[in-house]
């Protein structure tokens, strides 16, 4: 009740100010005012939703939608554009954290099984969704009016982003249930490895889709060299940043929050300047720190603690950027993508587990641990939006976010069910 009152109060104050003085006296006034309001209200709204067992990220996104251009328009397109750099910064933090969860020592114990299931999921989900969208596009609103090249390009992007899975949400549920055991280890390892694989191959996928979506694009040696440079440049730069972080931890190790903020800004700016991938660079930096420094895990925990305002901004802005009309138009497509992603995940996981000689529980129901999507998926959507400016990018991102919201709602519930079924929860509550 108190939280709802505070949200209403801040809304009323912001609205009242706009009524009394429609244009602020300073250009920066709007940005500071709205940013402060969004930070507080989005967090409180997420806490309210948590009481209904809904994930926090959904709260941030829904509040973003409410204050964005499609809602009350406190967070206008101009402001979203002005504060865009904060989104990129948050993306770098999310990827650093995701990379920091990759502990090779843990995964190598059951690497064969992990690789087998991972390949099964990637193959089935990607090829399955690509074929499904290609064959049934004529019956799906939003896709049916597209030309064949355009349709294939969109299908590639939808199929590729469907592969993503949220490491943060997975870790969140494992922590909540204090889960330990056979299934928990495998789901966590595959989730992290899948995120890394996807981020590495994503520049290739984008280039492939560009070939169909942007008419003048042709695949030639020069383009392939550019993509290869982009991938290897990002990996190299990420590794260098990782080494710098390790040296800092070893020789300075003070004010980690401030240092990480600076590091994230350097990653964002240099990757933009040098045409590299911010996600890939950050994820590699996170992996290097986690695997080559004793203080890596503590650092990653520190990032998670200090980046709360950036997370809220990232997901809040993603919600604000949603186009309601595009969601409504593509509602059927969204449902098809959500349902068939699950179907293909089941088959991919089953085949991979059978080939690895896994236990029955892993073969039959561990697919439930791979539904949730969050930061990485939205991050990929942001990359696509940037690569294809205009209606293609923004429509795609809107549909993707609608998918993420649904998967993010049902994913944690299904994963929780899986861990309880496998009797790996040690939390008595």
């Amino acid at each position: 009740m108190k939280k709802a009152l505070i949200i209403s109060l801040l809304f009323a104050l912001s609205f009242g100010m706009k009524v009394i003085l429609p244009e602020g006296k300073s250009l920066d006034a709007d940005a500071a005012l709205v940013l402060g309001m969004v930070l507080i209200t989005a967090y409180l709204f997420a806490l309210l939703l948590k009481q209904l067992k809904l994930p926090r990220l959904t709260g941030y996104m829904l509040l973003g939608l409410a204050v964005g251009p499609a809602g009350l328009n406190f967070l206008s397109y101009d402001l979203l554009h002005q504060l865009h750099f904060l989104e990129e910064l948050a993306l770098s933090f999310i990827a650093l954290t995701a990379g920091g969860e990759f502990d090779y020592r843990r995964i190598k114990k059951f690497i064969k099984s992990v690789v087998s299931q991972l390949l099964g999921q990637i193959t089935f989900v990607f090829i399955g969704l690509l074929a499904l969208l290609w064959v049934f596009a004529g019956y799906l609103p939003f896709l049916k009016d597209l030309e064949s090249d355009m349709l294939f390009g969109f299908s590639i992007l939808f199929a590729a982003t469907a592969l993503s899975k949220s490491p943060a949400a997975t870790i969140g549920i494992i922590t909540e249930l204090r889960a330990r055991g056979y299934v928990t280890e495998r789901v966590l390892s595959i989730t992290i490895l899948k995120s890394i694989t996807l981020v590495i191959i994503f520049p290739l996928i984008i280039t492939w889709a560009k070939f169909y979506l942007v008419p003048e694009t042709s695949i030639n040696t020069e383009l392939l060299i550019t993509v290869a440079t982009q991938i290897f440049g990002s990996i190299f730069f990420g590794a260098a940043i990782g080494v710098i972080i390790i040296l800092y931890l070893k020789y300075v190790d003070m004010e980690q929050g401030l240092f990480l903020l600076g590091t994230a800004i350097v990653i964002v700016e240099f990757t933009t300047m040098l045409n590299m991938e911010v996600l890939l660079t950050s994820i590699v930096a996170g992996i290097v720190v986690e695997n080559f420094s004793k203080k890596g895990q503590a650092l990653i925990e520190n990032i998670e603690k200090s980046s709360l305002p950036l997370y809220i901004i990232f997901f809040g802005f993603a919600g604000a950027g949603l186009h309601i009309d595009a969601i409504l138009e593509a509602f059927v497509l969204t449902l098809v993508l959500v349902v068939f992603r699950m179907v293909f995940l089941y088959f991919g996981n089953y085949v991979g587990a059978v080939l690895a000689g896994e236990k029955k529980i892993v073969k039959n129901i561990s697919w439930m641990g791979y539904i949730g999507q969050a930061g990485i998926a939205v991050g990929l959507g942001t990359i696509i939006e940037k690569t294809f400016p205009g209606p293609i990018g923004s429509s795609f991102k809107t549909i993707l976010i609608a998918n993420v919201v649904i998967n993010e709602l049902i994913g944690p519930i299904m994963f929780k069910y899986l861990l309880l079924y496998a009797k790996e929860s040690t939390n008595d509550d």
């Binding site: 009394i20 003085l21 006296k25 300073s26 940005a31 005012l33 402060g36 309001m37 964002v268 305002p309």
Partner: protein, 390 residues
């Protein structure tokens, strides 16, 4: 360089600088005054600016204004957070009288002398508000200088107690006064008492409501990151509302801090947490001052301010000292110890400029020059005086 990278460079400089100064045990008084007046960062800011190396361009300086507004808000919030009414009772009334008289006389004498001399004899025109702001910036005292001397010489005498109180209290008065001057300027710009008062009341209400929200949210047990989120979110909201209606950021955020200190439960942990960022924030403020600095100033005005300000501070201290009564009165020209102005004088000028602009670079150079020389003199004098007292 982009605005984001500029922030990194500035934060990095601010951070390493603050670490360096904390570790560096400077013995020489002149070097100490260079280090603690922050002249190094101001010079650095100037070198990075479009007037010198053009690393931080004019456009980027504009884009960074929101960051600097937050820094000002932070400064105001910290001043407010130290103002707990229950704690104020432990100081004798005569301390308040001494401080208030010193501040008001210093402010009035500086203003009247500058106004009279400039208009009557030099025929140099400077607008009324700029003169008020300049006099106000001169009326506040530097708490850092007193703190440095007390720390280095472990002075615990009654006089050092009075000086520390004076520096803290006149900073509070300075922020109150800048709020009133900005309000008066808002009236001149809008030409409507009703609108000006309405806007002022809204910003005041937002500051109080923000503090109420913080107190309400922190009644439950919350984590350190939630605490930080609430402070930063509410401070942004308060700073944004002040900017939105053209009111003083320093005053709005100080009110937010005062109400928070007095209605929230235990604010000691909050103060300790946010104080960790005080030094880098202060250095950012100095760098911002350097970025906006212009060297083409009227040197007559600069020299005049230097003399008038010292004279006004001496008169103010003499009168304030007299008000303490025969038993409490101290001997000698302690006014020299009070001529240091500190970072708040810069913050006052930046606060006004962020909202209304004006002949800001000129005022800035005057204050920075006075800051450098007068803080040095104050430090030299205080060291001798406080050691003698000990």
């Amino acid at each position: 360089m982009t605005s984001l990278l500029s922030i990194v460079v500035l934060v990095l400089l601010a951070y390493t600088g603050s670490r360096f100064i904390l570790k560096w045990k400077i013995q020489n008084t002149f070097l100490k005054s260079i280090a603690f007046t922050g002249i190094i960062y101001i010079t650095l800011g100037y070198l990075l600016s479009s007037k010198a190396l053009n690393i931080v361009t004019v456009e980027i300086t504009e884009q960074l204004k929101i960051v600097f507004a937050l820094v000002l808000g932070w400064a105001g919030f910290l001043i407010g957070l130290q103002t707990k009414f229950s704690g104020l009772k432990r100081f004798p009334v005569k301390y308040y009288r001494y401080s208030a008289l010193g501040f008001l006389i210093g402010f009035a004498v500086t203003f009247l002398l500058l106004y009279g001399i400039l208009n009557k004899w030099l025929l140099y025109t400077i607008d009324f508000h700029s003169l008020l702001i300049l006099s106000l910036a001169g009326a506040v005292t530097s708490p850092i200088m007193v703190a440095v001397v007390v720390r280095d010489h472990r002075v615990q005498a009654r006089l050092s107690h009075l000086l520390q109180f004076n520096a803290a209290f006149d900073n509070l008065l300075g922020v109150l006064m800048i709020g009133i001057i900005v309000l008066a300027n808002a009236f001149l710009v809008q030409d409507s008492v009703y609108l000006t008062v309405l806007h002022g009341i809204i910003v005041l209400a937002v500051s109080i409501v923000a503090a109420g929200i913080y107190a309400s949210l922190t009644k439950e047990k919350i984590s350190a990151e939630e605490n930080f989120l609430y402070v930063i979110g509410l401070l942004l909201f308060v700073v944004g509302s002040a900017l939105y209606f053209g009111m003083s950021i320093l005053l709005a955020s100080m009110i937010f801090g005062i109400v928070t200190a007095n209605i929230s439960g235990d604010t000691r942990r909050l103060y300790q947490n946010i104080q960790q960022l005080e030094k880098p924030m202060y250095i950012l403020l100095l760098i911002f001052a350097g970025l906006n600095l212009h060297l083409d100033v009227n040197y007559t005005l600069l020299f005049l301010f230097f003399l008038v300000h010292i004279f006004a501070k001496l008169i103010a201290e003499y009168t304030a000292n007299y008000s303490l009564g025969r038993e409490e009165r101290h001997e000698g020209w302690l006014g020299f110890g009070n001529i240091g102005m500190g970072g708040l004088s810069l913050a006052i000028i930046l606060d006004f400029n962020l909202i209304y602009g004006g002949p800001f670079p000129e005022l800035l150079l005057i204050i920075i020059t006075a800051l450098f020389f007068q803080d040095g003199i104050a430090l030299q004098y205080l060291e001798k005086r406080l050691i003698k007292e000990k």
